[in-house]
Amino acid sequence: MLDNHAKLVKVIAASDGIVGRKKLQKIIYILKKLGLPFEEKYTFYFYGPYSEELSLRIEEITNLGFVTEIKEQKSNYYQYRYQVTDQGQDFLEHSNADVPLVESIVRDMKEQSSRFLELVATMLYFDHLPKDEIEQKVQEVKKKSNYTSEDIVEAWSFIGKINLK
């Protein structure tokens, strides 16, 4: 029961809490692209791959009390902080959901900015294309984000690193 919810709670637990809805969206997408069994359907939107199914699932685990969501006011925007509760830990103990999580990957991603994860997720979204076309496509769809060639080199290196784990 609720295996997909359990996988999500497991990621938040493994990361010891995640700050940012966008970050959480991109982390799950990247894990999915690494072949982990997340079933949320993603579509490409203005800010890269996004899953409405995941947004709703996050609301569900929050409303069920498995995860707390704290809204924080930043200078000119809001940010959400997610942390697994004791009830969430109980839920995980009862769950049969199996995610062979590589905790170090989750923690590596958590340390990155959501802007950087958006770049990585966008590059992975176009991973059916050759490398130079991926870079070209990223510049095309992310014109406003002004990613530099250094950002892209760093993103390739990050993708290489998480793929090796």
């Binding site: 029961m1 609720l2 997909n4 919810h5 940012g20 809805r21 966008k22 969206q25 079933e39 359907k41 579509t43 490409f44 939107y45 203005f46 800010y47 996004y50 409405e52 199914e53 995941l54 947004s55 709703l56 699932r57 609301e59 569900e60 409303n63 069920l64 009390g65 498995f66 925007y77 809001y78 940010q79 959400y80 009830q87 109980d90 839920f91 009862h94 959501s114 958006e118 176009f126 496509k137 095309e140 769809v141 014109k143 406003k144």
Partner: protein, 434 residues
């Protein structure tokens, strides 16, 4: 004249219950409507299993596709002489609007879940593959099919073009809300679309709404909210969806066990084996699926025949409210009790959550998850809708989640009264049953 600009000698019109008329003057649009891949959409219902709840909900994806095309056509008339709008993109927008749902299959939500498919990939494959649609689009230019696919996939470089077809206030949603309201017969889903079209403005890479049109947009957001709870997420429709999903799981499982079907399920075999070709995909429509459901209702496998019989004859599962956190022990007990009475809980005891049928509520995009609706203020500043509208702010913060437990009440009631499991099951289910 280039094919892209070719016009029909006389404008063609389709009568439409929502927009009154759908107008076609461009030859490329007329040719696309005549392709077999587009005509196939007549045999795919727009609302999947909702016809089992709302008997009028038999409208097809072809109706909706024509409606989206018509709305975009009207938006572009308003945009014609506005700054920021590139008139060269007109035919691209119209083609993308018309073809945006081309890859939907029969009951696509359940099919996609069970067979791990993605209708958007099939939309792309039909547009780029060896199809009549591809032939028509290629007559515009060699690159044109790819451009149409990119707009539908939301990866086209001009995001303004994309936002007409897909954003939080787009032609797709404006059509389906009104069309679904019309065919289901509910009184929700209505809003002043003409007003919204008049106040839409192209600004850089998005469509925004003039501040004076805010109240029309509030109505649209309210319609989305009400249609979700009243139509899209209706508990009876969810029951039909649960049964449909379980039928597909069961046939797939039986096929894997080399079960001998009375009628060979030929059109499904590539789905079972995970090797669906474009041709296989296009061939499968709701007429084929419903034919097989009738055949499966006669199968020897008791689970498959029971589930198929239920779907065909609308003997749906009942439901009880369920809180997976507070009722975890109830769930575990029920699971075991169902096993004890030889009712496979993997098929007959189902928790269905709101995220199993996701619907895009309006989200203010506080952390850049999705681009929100922006109002164009008199000083040309852009403001996010919920920061300006108390109504939208109130709806945006509402609880939008729900879980229900579905089960065959009739089979439980048929158990002999002296079976101890019967009273135990009923006691748990009656706690919060509706």
């Amino acid at each position: 004249m280039a094919y892209k600009d070719d016009q029909l000698h006389e404008e063609k019109v389709f009568k439409d219950p929502v927009h009154r008329y759908v107008h076609v003057r461009d030859l490329v649009i007329w040719d696309l409507i005549g392709t077999k891949e587009f005509q196939r959409l007549r045999r795919i219902k727009q609302l999947g299993t909702s016809f089992l709840t709302f008997h009028g909900a038999e409208h097809s994806r072809l109706n909706h596709s024509l409606g989206v095309y018509e709305i975009v056509r009207r938006i572009l008339i308003n945009f014609e002489d506005r700054p920021n709008w590139n008139r060269e993109e007109r035919i691209l927008c119209l083609c993308a609007a018309l073809l945006h749902d081309l890859g939907h299959g029969p009951f696509s939500h359940s099919f996609e879940k069970v067979f791990k498919l993605d209708h958007e990939e099939f939309t792309r494959a039909i547009i780029l593959g060896d199809t009549e649609v591809h032939q028509v689009l290629s007559k515009v230019s060699k690159e044109f099919p790819q451009k149409v696919a990119d707009v539908i996939n939301k990866t086209y470089h001009d995001k303004l073009v994309v936002s007409l077809i897909s954003s939080q206030i787009d032609a797709d949603r404006m059509d389906y809300l009104q069309r679904d309201a019309y065919f289901t017969g509910v009184s929700y889903g209505h809003f002043d679309m003409e007003r919204i079209l008049r106040v839409m403005r192209p600004v850089e890479d998005q469509v925004v709404i003039k501040e004076s049109g805010m109240h029309a947009v509030e109505d649209y957001i309210m319609s989305r909210y009400q249609m979700y709870w009243q139509v899209y997420f209706h508990p009876v429709t969810r029951s039909a969806e649960v049964i449909l999903t379980k039928i597909l799981h069961r046939v797939k499982e039986l096929y894997g066990q080399h079960y001998q079907f009375k009628v060979e399920p030929t059109p499904f075999i590539s789905f079972f084996e995970g090797k669906v070709s474009l041709e296989d995909y296009i061939r499968l429509d709701e007429a084929v699926v419903l034919y097989y459901f009738q055949m499966w209702a006669e199968e020897d496998d008791s689970i498959l025949s029971d589930l198929a019989y239920r779907f065909v004859n609308r003997r749906l599962f009942k439901y009880a409210e369920f809180n997976p956190n507070l009722q975890m022990n109830d769930w575990m007990e029920l699971y075991q009790l169902f096993k004890d009475i030889d009712l496979d809980p993997d098929y007959y005891l189902v928790v269905d959550s709101s995220s199993d049928l996701p619907y895009d509520f309006y989200r203010p995009g506080e952390e850049e998850e999705r681009l929100p609706i922006h109002l164009l203020m008199p000083n040309n500043e852009l403001r996010e809708l919920s920061r300006q509208s108390d109504i939208v702010e109130a709806i945006s913060g509402k609880k939008r989640t729900d879980h229900k437990l579905y089960y065959p009440k009739d089979l439980i009631e048929k158990l002999a009264d002296d079976r101890p499991e019967k009273a135990k099951i009923q006691k748990i289910l009656n706690k919060q049953e509706r």
